[in-house]
Symmetry: D2
Subunit: 454 residues, 4 copies
Amino acid sequence: MCGIVGAFGVPECGRKLSLMLKSLQHRGQEAAGFATRDDGKLYVHKDLGLVDEVVKHLDFDLRLPGSVGIGHVRYPTTGDPTNRENIQPLQAHLTCGEVAVVCNGNLTNYRELRERLEASGSIFRSTSDTEVFLHLLQRAGGNGIVSRLKSVLTQVEGAYSLLILTPEGLLVARDPYGFRPLLMARHENGFMFSSESCAFDLFKATDRVTLKAGTITEVNAVGVATHTFQTSDYRRYCAFEDIYFTRPDSFLGDETVDRRRWRLGEALGHKNAIEADVVVGVPDSSNTMALAFAEKSGIPFRFGLIRNHYTGRTFITPSQVARELGVRMKLNPVSDIIEGRRVIVVDDSLVRGTTMRKVAELLREAGAVEVHARLASPRIIHPCFWGIDTPRRRELLAPGKTDEEIAAACHLDSVDFLTVEELRAALGDTDATRYCTTCFTGAKPVPEHEMPTV
Amino acid sequence: MCGIVGAFGVPECGRKLSLMLKSLQHRGQEAAGFATRDDGKLYVHKDLGLVDEVVKHLDFDLRLPGSVGIGHVRYPTTGDPTNRENIQPLQAHLTCGEVAVVCNGNLTNYRELRERLEASGSIFRSTSDTEVFLHLLQRAGGNGIVSRLKSVLTQVEGAYSLLILTPEGLLVARDPYGFRPLLMARHENGFMFSSESCAFDLFKATDRVTLKAGTITEVNAVGVATHTFQTSDYRRYCAFEDIYFTRPDSFLGDETVDRRRWRLGEALGHKNAIEADVVVGVPDSSNTMALAFAEKSGIPFRFGLIRNHYTGRTFITPSQVARELGVRMKLNPVSDIIEGRRVIVVDDSLVRGTTMRKVAELLREAGAVEVHARLASPRIIHPCFWGIDTPRRRELLAPGKTDEEIAAACHLDSVDFLTVEELRAALGDTDATRYCTTCFTGAKPVPEHEMPTV
Amino acid sequence: MCGIVGAFGVPECGRKLSLMLKSLQHRGQEAAGFATRDDGKLYVHKDLGLVDEVVKHLDFDLRLPGSVGIGHVRYPTTGDPTNRENIQPLQAHLTCGEVAVVCNGNLTNYRELRERLEASGSIFRSTSDTEVFLHLLQRAGGNGIVSRLKSVLTQVEGAYSLLILTPEGLLVARDPYGFRPLLMARHENGFMFSSESCAFDLFKATDRVTLKAGTITEVNAVGVATHTFQTSDYRRYCAFEDIYFTRPDSFLGDETVDRRRWRLGEALGHKNAIEADVVVGVPDSSNTMALAFAEKSGIPFRFGLIRNHYTGRTFITPSQVARELGVRMKLNPVSDIIEGRRVIVVDDSLVRGTTMRKVAELLREAGAVEVHARLASPRIIHPCFWGIDTPRRRELLAPGKTDEEIAAACHLDSVDFLTVEELRAALGDTDATRYCTTCFTGAKPVPEHEMPTV
Amino acid sequence: MCGIVGAFGVPECGRKLSLMLKSLQHRGQEAAGFATRDDGKLYVHKDLGLVDEVVKHLDFDLRLPGSVGIGHVRYPTTGDPTNRENIQPLQAHLTCGEVAVVCNGNLTNYRELRERLEASGSIFRSTSDTEVFLHLLQRAGGNGIVSRLKSVLTQVEGAYSLLILTPEGLLVARDPYGFRPLLMARHENGFMFSSESCAFDLFKATDRVTLKAGTITEVNAVGVATHTFQTSDYRRYCAFEDIYFTRPDSFLGDETVDRRRWRLGEALGHKNAIEADVVVGVPDSSNTMALAFAEKSGIPFRFGLIRNHYTGRTFITPSQVARELGVRMKLNPVSDIIEGRRVIVVDDSLVRGTTMRKVAELLREAGAVEVHARLASPRIIHPCFWGIDTPRRRELLAPGKTDEEIAAACHLDSVDFLTVEELRAALGDTDATRYCTTCFTGAKPVPEHEMPTV
């Protein structure tokens, strides 16, 4: 998970991209970066840290001038997080001009592509799979940059939403299955692009559209043109955008994520069979799910867990003391709500189970007499095929365990999940053509015959 | 408003104080600072920024060693915020040894004290009223530092909770009326001090007590001793600690702030006479009040406003673009909840009215057909006598206005407040001896004959 | 040794003071600082490092605006060099307004003055004796700041040249015996002040005068006024300004330091009795002395030692490797000049003897068959009474040793010095009323009856 | 001009390389960088600034560990000086392993090589011609890295001395004509490499040899092996190494540069026909030439110009004030030596003439009645074919002008130069096979049939 933004024809776009990225900060807190172009010159500014830290004291007029640009926030990655070469945008002097690129996603054939490119003379500077796009572009044949990018995209495989700042404007692409969201909107005489619609709201951008999977959108002085590079009957939206990644006020299609999460919470509350005194959500992502659960189940909702919003970056100052405190740094129960009560805690998902176990312990220390967990998504039993940041199978808690075993492992009195069918129903995908459910089922996301060959 | 912490007999206290301060970060985001003592040497580390920024990459063993220390987070002040001399702790080489001091509060006779001290030769380096304590201590007569501090505290007037790191240990004092909270707890073989109890929860500190107003607590190798320097029948707790400042999971007396806010919300909901479709709180501080209002009034509560928790420090990168966006940077409505609805928005208080007006506009843009505001505190009609950060009278919205005029000024369909009596009832102060209500009534907080004379 | 500069009525004085200080950089490389005043506001910028490092990337218009200001470069001190509180200018909010002060010199009664001030309530923030001036000023009686400063200067004892930036302009003072130099010149419609005249040459400042010892020069909008606070028949110029501290192109009185050093070198060459093949100076300070010695003695001068001018700040990165290399990092012999030759090496003075011993070893390694040292100053047998940075007596090499013993200690074939009489003759002080020679003789610099009493 | 160093089998080589580079600091003050390898891992540290600034506070054990490494100081370049990508060493992950490279010199066919490489897919990250070596290595065929490097070096054309840190050790190469110096010496059980011998003196390294032009020296655990990749009867040493670049104490062949400069000064003094009172050199580079001139001509030498060695980095803080001061920031005359005298000023060379004109003005302002310039090199009438930092022809002062016209342009009473024949005689190249004299004659440095073809 990461967040990307872009702007074309937007005066002072450096400042505005930074504000758009701040509204996507929940998608990645590890690093942030920008590229703009002004008077033919490319400007790049990027660093580890939150957007606010990265642009602290920045003279935007001097360092990120112009009215066209792109931006990126990075989710903590498994590689070396301090390797500055990996911070996006990546830039390069290509024979077609100097370009910069940001990407949200993962290429599944990165390893093979890199080896092939290196064997024929390319030198890689980062370990980010986004760099592959630059090398393939430098080598691509074809007349014009759009046809070159088309040829590049037929060689890569995976989930990606992509923004390229070119000498002429922007190239915007989304993989053929639409794993990662990407939207466009109109802002005065220009255009804005974003992983989520909430970034548009800041500027009251209008005419919001979701870009089509398998297309390249070309934006330059001439206007906006769309080029299809691959068509498919399938869509494979990542369900975790609905469940967890996206901000509640952002739109996925025609409705807000909040409404989708409400339906997930209702589905969970609908089948509740436990008597309890209070429902609490794990803030902030599960609040709506918990409230919906409460209304459906008739058990009152309360703000029983307080989140400290200032501890997001504990990773910056790791210490034994801080590690031992773990989730306690972020969450603290409200004793008056928890003490002597039977508590149902609602969360969006269960991956390794470490957070849920800590939450259960916190609640019991605060005096809860029972703790039941309800998850607004199915059991996660398989790593993500497309490389999204889910752990290896043996690190997942659910595979091979009964609900009772899961509850025991987390110090819970009971646990329950949505089924895949309940999830699909809540998300409006009853014919199973729109959502990727690999992590819940183990099924391959894309039919074999549609996979690209390197 | 600020936050202070202290520790005595707590190994690795630098790290632990930083984690305690992070849990008080809501009390001040402008600056943070620490002082510890180890092997007779005083160590100070402080800077502008959040706690995480200030301790980023800090080698605690080298820079804040020892098992005794103090810490401070600073609320944005009206003075020059970048004046580093004002960041606490303030330290000084006194003839009784090198000391450091942190203070939460405001001295009302600071100006007179400073002038008197300067006239007799003292040189001030900061514009912080906390510095007065150091100069008075350097000049105080008396046998031993406790009796010197007693003589100091009879000279100062105002609201203060105070921690002094001395060569022997800690001196902890609270003003005679208890305006600002200060608590002590036991941690293993040592003691912790904090403006709020949530900082103790991190370390499961036990035996929490609220320090008595008008006393000095002396902690050193010998043990803990309490010295009373002034007694009074009156307490003047600041009601805004209950309404807004304190974290919901912290205790004020025997109950959590969350429970007190629930009663404030209930009192407001009890008298509701408006028909509406949905109740939303202004997150995060008003959530519990709004939920209580909703349950009492029978109108459903929803998470209709999303707060971006990553924008707290916009002040760092001021820009025209950011200023125009204003509250929009922090709050965004969830369209599906607001559109076509009659909305009641619950907030804790109304000061200048600028935020409420922006919220009303946001909700109307999102399609609300009516917007009503309900405030869980009385009208604020008077600046704070004790210098708490409330604006001058002419900047307050409520004085001299009817509810209709207030509603009109904020683009609201209606507005309602708690009365002072409803507030007192909810806070359990029906005989009016415990809370300061100057800002709601204009009455002097302390009887004339109890005021100190300089 | 330190260097100070000042300007009044000089537009863009921040930039110009920085360039003046760069020309005094040889007087102190450890720290640099500036204070200017513009539109009633005081601006201070200071840090550890060379002037170029301290003003790197500085926006002078924003950070050091105005046309009146002062500056200071600091010589490595014996105290804690990283204590930033000690970097000058020191500033303070006094009842007479905000002032800043720089001082070149040492107060011999600092300890007593500080103790007395602290006992009556003052709090010191630095360990610099310059801070005493601020506290005494805050307490001084008298009508107007000049009469207050007069009363301050009758209380201090020692060697000092002083610049104070006041709300009205500058106050410039020199101790009653004139130990440290201080000059004034006219620059367009304003005035410049400097420890050495070479700083004036940059700006072609005219009408250079040496300020009189025992006077205060007051510069403000009204003009320039001189106030005498103490008169004495004695002058006690520090001979090391002539021998070593001052740049050769600076004037001391009516002639350049280069001409004075030429006479010192001639006096040394005049009495030479050694046969040798080549004369080399220890660069750069001894070059002129060595050339004069060569012409007088008839032995050819050559550039036999090369100085690496980029190693002045080795102290920044101390390491075992660097320490072992010692003087070799700074000086390297030219083999073709030294090999097989009898070498006379001329240096300005001999303090601990460590450098001379290393130089002798370097020359022998390079093939010198004989190495003789000639010093253009007398034997140093006594620490400086006035606290100038000379070591304690037991660290000096010369006391109690014959020339033969000194030569042996430094691996030299012979050594010779000037006598005190030869020095006085070369400096034009044959009646012994003008120069302090304490370090050469042990005599008290000032008659007992003229010492101030605290 | 730049400076490079290397070490193999030298414990704590990071520290030692930094000290070696400091002794080469005169060859480049703009940037410095290091690469070492330890336990198979490559470490790089580099930045803009002097060596001392770049390694300030550096933890060598952590950041530059190991006993094999390379280093580089960069001369101000015509490209974007703040482009950090251009700072050497350049590093790359090649298929043969991770390598780092430093180079002193200029490739004349860089443009063609880069275009050819980019056209076949390579992406360049810097604008430094040194990067070409990395791309060619990644694409080179051949068995083993030495044979790959041989194939690379047959493709490049120009002046270069090269050090490559490979997974196995070091590869060291010098172009076929030996334009730039490069030496090797033994240090305990290891080897050191340097552009100049003065870097060896620090560590008393022995067995100094000048590496042969047209060879690759391979140093690894097996030992030292030399591989010839091209032979030529011609050498084309750059005469400016003798005249200006190299430190006087460094050896070029069997004698010090100081001795060579003495002969250049003597040749100039030998033909002197002017009567004058004093000879001054432009410090520091021309001092020996001026002294030799003085002895040969019988006119006394004096230190009439003082150089401020702390102003080398004025470029860091450019300002109108500083620019106007120009050479006055660096040089100041000693009035007592200049006033009323006929002055001969000796300098090493005359390029644009701007410095000489400023020096003449300084001397006249100081009272010189005549100013004559004598240059210890021939007229420069042609830019350097090999890209050394000489300006374009129209910026040179000498082309097309008589001596009288040159003197008039520089405000001189007269000017004189060495002839090319006098230069060759002084440098021992009477048969014209060893030195490149393109800048003095315009002749191509290398016969056409020996030029590589791309």
